[in-house]
């Protein structure tokens, strides 16, 4: 208790101000205004050549309830690290935990042994020791950092990292706010994992029911036959999570200030363990200027989905003297994170209700663009294709949902693989799951164009397929049917080779796939060019391809960034060889 009080005071003092005015008028209950924890206008910022970070056990409070957390320098999220392109940095990381820890610099181009993945890039940071990361800062943009040890990321071990460009900023702004999105659970992360293993769909409290009437009898039968639930959108969700913006729950209403007419840059970082968000600011169009730290040609939109580990920078220009709600609704609509942009403290804007939860379609089951819903009658164009007989219900799901012949023999279609997408299609141009029918503009990967062309214009010489695989009921996740602990063959690239990687999602879940140490060009086939990213969200039953220049020698982690998918085995190692330029390896 004493410890907690002290800690809270420390946090308050560390912050620039106790920002949340206690007199905020809102619909939230009195306890939500307690304003006693971690309330600060700005994230504490660390800059310079030498940065000290201390990782320790701590308490974190949200919604009036306190839980065990891991914090860095006493705050959650961890302090904002602000660097400048071209500088060198030494980051001294002290481990005050009683277990190993690590920091991975997500999206940074650096020598592999500074990448911070225990067992792959370095030995990890033992309790009671300090490890110093040192590397030149070769890039600019919005990034983040987080633990790569165990499930520490779930309980607070993450923070934002912003690098200012050495030259002019291509997307100038008058003011900026860093928006760190995350999810918090009072359930111990190991308990979360056990629950997922004990009962398929444990956290989903919005499953298909008899009474919700959104599906026809034939559709229900189809899904039932597959032993799949079309409402299975997010493994861990609002039934246990509080969704945070800069460490604040929705009721605490983190507020970012602006002066009307200013160009305000919002640096969105999805530092969640498991939560994909849909971002919108009702009444305020957003101009996306960066994705994953890389400049894109400015593109205006009303809503975008940010998958786990992605970052998006947007510029908004509020001209009115009014508050705007910043809404980060979870992909399964089981909850939202919420903040406010306002000219003054204490202002609030109406918070829209959660929209109805989406359901998966046949396209999400890897049935390509075919209409195999089964509920409708047989449309003429379908009959023409031989899919159904006019006057009869459309033939449904005659395709095998687990045909081993659909994947190469190298994919282990065993206990851990409950589905092989029969006809996966490139979905990088699809609107994200659940936003298909929104009446307003919604960003897709096809809308992202690089501001400057990628430095390597060679066409890829070879392609490699990687199948994203899993078993929903047993909560097993893998690449090519093998969990990491099952001795998956590493993915090998020759140094500087240009290679196309095809990610084929043989599951009904989104998977944000991240490769360490490299950026890749996401193949969208668009005339305006291919966006450069470090993480790509591969839609259910779909495909995404990226072209990679393997220019970073060493061993690199490659994994799904949904923490519990990775922990369940959806990870592998990318090896780039030779290590030395022509010299002795």
């Amino acid at each position: 208790m004493t410890h907690m009080t002290m800690r809270r005071r420390g946090v308050l003092r560390a912050g620039a101000a106790g920002l949340l005015g206690l007199g905020v008028q809102s619909i939230f209950p009195a306890w939500a205004h307690s304003g006693s924890h971690g309330l600060r206008a700005e994230l504490p910022t660390l800059t310079g050549q030498d940065i000290r970070l201390r990782i320790a056990h701590d308490m974190f409070k949200v919604g009036g309830r306190a839980g065990h957390a891991i914090t860095i320098n006493g705050v959650l999220p961890a302090p904002l690290i602000r660097l400048r392109e071209g500088q060198n940095v030494r980051l001294h990381v002290e481990n005050a935990l009683d277990e190993d820890t690590s920091i991975h610099w997500h999206g940074l181009i650096l020598p592999f042994h500074m990448d911070g993945v225990p067992g792959i890039s370095f030995p990890g940071i033992k309790p009671g020791t300090t490890f110093t990361y040192e590397f030149p800062v070769k890039q600019s943009g919005t990034y983040w950092y987080h633990s790569h040890s165990g499930l520490q990321e779930q309980i607070g071990h993450y923070g934002p990292l912003v690098i200012d460009p050495a030259g002019a900023e291509p997307a100038p702004y008058d003011r900026e706010h860093v928006i760190v999105l995350s999810d918090w659970t009072f359930l111990h992360p190991h308990q979360v994992m056990v629950k997922l293993k004990q009962k398929g769909g444990y956290f989903n409290r919005q499953k298909q029911t008899l009474l919700d009437g959104t599906m026809t009898a034939a559709e229900r039968a189809n899904w039932g036959r597959m032993r799949m639930d079309p409402a299975d959108i997010a493994d861990v969700n609002g039934s246990t999570y509080s969704f945070l913006i800069n460490g604040h729950g929705p009721a605490e209403n983190w507020t970012g200030l602006f002066r009307p007419g200013e160009r305000v840059r919002l640096r969105f970082i999805n530092a969640s363990a498991m939560t994909i968000f849909n971002i919108r600011i009702p009444g305020l169009p957003m101009t996306v200027v960066q994705a994953d730290g890389q400049h894109v040609r400015p593109v205006e939109t009303d809503e975008f989905q940010i998958s786990v580990a992605e970052t998006y920078d947007v510029i908004v220009t509020p001209t009115a003297d009014q508050a705007f709600a910043l809404i980060a609704e979870t992909i399964d609509r089981s909850g939202m994170a919420r903040a406010t942009l306002a000219p003054r403290l204490g202002m609030v804007a109406p918070v829209p209700a959660l929209r109805p939860r989406p359901t998966l379609s046949m396209r999400d089951m890897g049935m390509g663009g075919m209409d195999m819903g089964g509920g409708g009658t047989c449309a003429p164009e379908h009959a023409a294709m031989g899919h159904c007989t006019p006057g009869q219900p459309a033939a449904a799901m005659q395709h095998s949902m687990r045909d081993k012949a659909s994947v190469p023999a190298s994919v282990d279609v065993g206990v851990g693989v409950d589905m092989i997408a029969p006809m996966p299609v490139d979905r990088t141009g699809d609107r994200p799951l659940g936003l298909e029918k929104e009446p307003h503009r919604v960003l897709t990967y096809h809308d992202l164009a690089p501001l400057v062309p990628f430095h390597d214009t060679r066409p890829p010489a070879r392609s490699v397929d990687i199948h994203l695989t899993g078993n929903m009921e047993r909560f097993m996740w893998s690449l090519d049917g093998r969990k990491m602990n099952e001795g998956a063959e590493p993915i090998r690239f020759e140094r500087n080779e240009r290679v196309r990687v095809n990610l084929i999602n043989n599951s009904m879940m989104n998977h944000p796939i991240h490769i360490h140490g490299h950026f890749f060009e996401l193949v969208t086939g668009q005339a305006h060019g291919h966006p450069v990213k470090h993480t790509v969200n591969v839609m259910p039953g779909g495909k995404a391809s990226f072209d990679l220049t393997a220019d970073a020698p060493g061993d690199w982690a490659f994994h799904c960034h949904l923490l519990y998918h990775m922990h369940a085995g959806m990870m592998n190692v990318v090896k780039v060889r030779p290590l030395d330029d022509g010299g002795a390896a």
Binding site: D100, F112, H113, V117, P118, G119, F122, P123, A171, M193, Q198, L210, L211, G213, M215, T216, A217, E219, R220, A221, R227, R297, P298, S361, G369, D371, G373, G374, G375, A379, G416, D418, G429, E436, K437, P439, H440, D447, A449, R462, S463, E473, R474, M484, N485, E486, F493, E497, V499, G525, Q526, H528, P553, H567, M571, K575, R577, P578, D580, A585
Partner: protein, 347 residues
């Protein structure tokens, strides 16, 4: 009457879709027809739109402004300094042929297997590497499920019954323990058994389970070798089918199935059925060859939390053939209907 009720419930279970309206408003089966306008294919055909299956691609509303002329950024345009040119083309370009699928070159496999060993030392890296590989995928866990702990009343006589299972292990191999039994208050336990099984995952949804079963009741007690398959059948049926070979050489079998019909996310109707078969007469415990008993249950439970759910329901049991005769000889009826109230819990 009871049989009708039960038949109806079985039917409801067999067609989980029963009682759903088939109206098309808001149905989601035609997602593929309502793809965003940015999609190349005009997927919402007029006839589908007319049927209300989809909305024609809102060409005017949906497109994101594809790109802004980089030579004329918005802030300059806003100041009237320049006129942004419309993006020349935002569509797809003819895609060059995909590169051939090929394995890594010899050079890609050159050098040390573990790059970090050269920096930090193999002796330092090896144990951490082993731990990290194990951490990503290896799982050990357990579950204890009290499926049924219930009070039964049959024709004014009160009794109890239990059924539960627990497991410990990983994704593929688990030690599985099952127990079930019943009795009347004030009397002896009528039946009680425990099974200890090795459970091996044999597919995405099914486990092969082999081990021992021991019947404490009815007397005389018996031991069995057990082998069965447990898992999730299409249409979400939980099934457990097993054969037992007793220490006296008797072969019997048991088929169980249950189905969870969610009425809401907390209120669940669970029809269930259990069939006992025997290859021969086992007079010592009053079982005859062929179909010996059928049990059918219908339970309505309320999940206060997923781990804790009280329920009430009906349990119908009927004996057949000589099994029924032997019950009558004992002064019992061949069939019975019980009202049950109980608890399902797990952790």
């Amino acid at each position: 009457m009871i049989r009708t009720l039960f038949a109806a419930s079985l039917l409801a279970a067999a067609t989980p879709a029963a009682a759903q309206h088939a109206d098309h408003t808001g149905h989601t089966g035609h997602m593929g027809h309502a793809m965003p306008a940015s999609d190349a294919a005009p997927s919402c055909t007029p006839e589908h739109a007319a049927m209300g299956h989809c909305k024609p691609a809102p060409a005017a509303a949906a497109p994101v402004r594809p790109a802004v002329d980089p030579s004329c950024p918005p802030e300059h345009a806003a100041m009237g300094h320049c006129e942004p040119t419309a993006p020349s083309s935002s569509g797809a370009v003819p895609t060059p042929p995909a590169p051939p699928s090929a394995g890594p070159s010899a050079a890609a496999s050159s050098g040390p297997e573990y790059a970090a060993d050269g920096v930090w030392g193999a002796d330092v890296m090896a144990p951490v590497r082993k731990a990290v590989y194990t951490e990503h995928g290896a799982f050990r866990g357990s579950k204890l499920l009290i499926d049924r702990l219930e009070h039964r009343s049959v024709d004014g006589r009160d009794g109890y019954a239990w059924e539960g299972e627990g497991w410990y292990g990983g994704d593929y191999d688990r030690l599985w323990v099952k127990t079930e039994g019943e009795g009347g208050f004030g009397g002896a336990i009528e039946s009680a058994e425990v099974q200890a099984l090795w459970s091996r995952a044999i597919g995405p949804w099914f486990n092969l389970q082999t081990g021992l079963r021991y019947d404490f009741r009815p007397r005389p007690d018996r031991a069995h070798l057990a082998m069965g398959v447990q898992g999730l059948a299409p249409y979400w049926f939980e099934v457990d089918v097993a054969a037992f070979l007793s220490d006296r050489g008797d072969l019997t079998a048991r088929l169980e199935a249950e189905y969870d019909q969610r009425i809401t996310n907390r209120l669940i109707l669970q029809p269930s059925a259990e069939i006992e078969l025997s290859a021969q007469n086992v007079p010592s415990v009053g079982i005859s060859a062929g179909l010996s008993t059928i049990e059918a249950g219908l339970r309505l439970r309320y999940e206060v939390v997923p781990e804790f759910a009280p329920y009430l329901g009906l349990e119908y049991e009927r004996a057949f053939g000589k099994t029924a005769d032997s019950r009558r000889a004992d002064g019992e009826k061949a069939d019975s209907l019980a009202f049950v109230i109980g608890l399902r819990a797990w952790f």
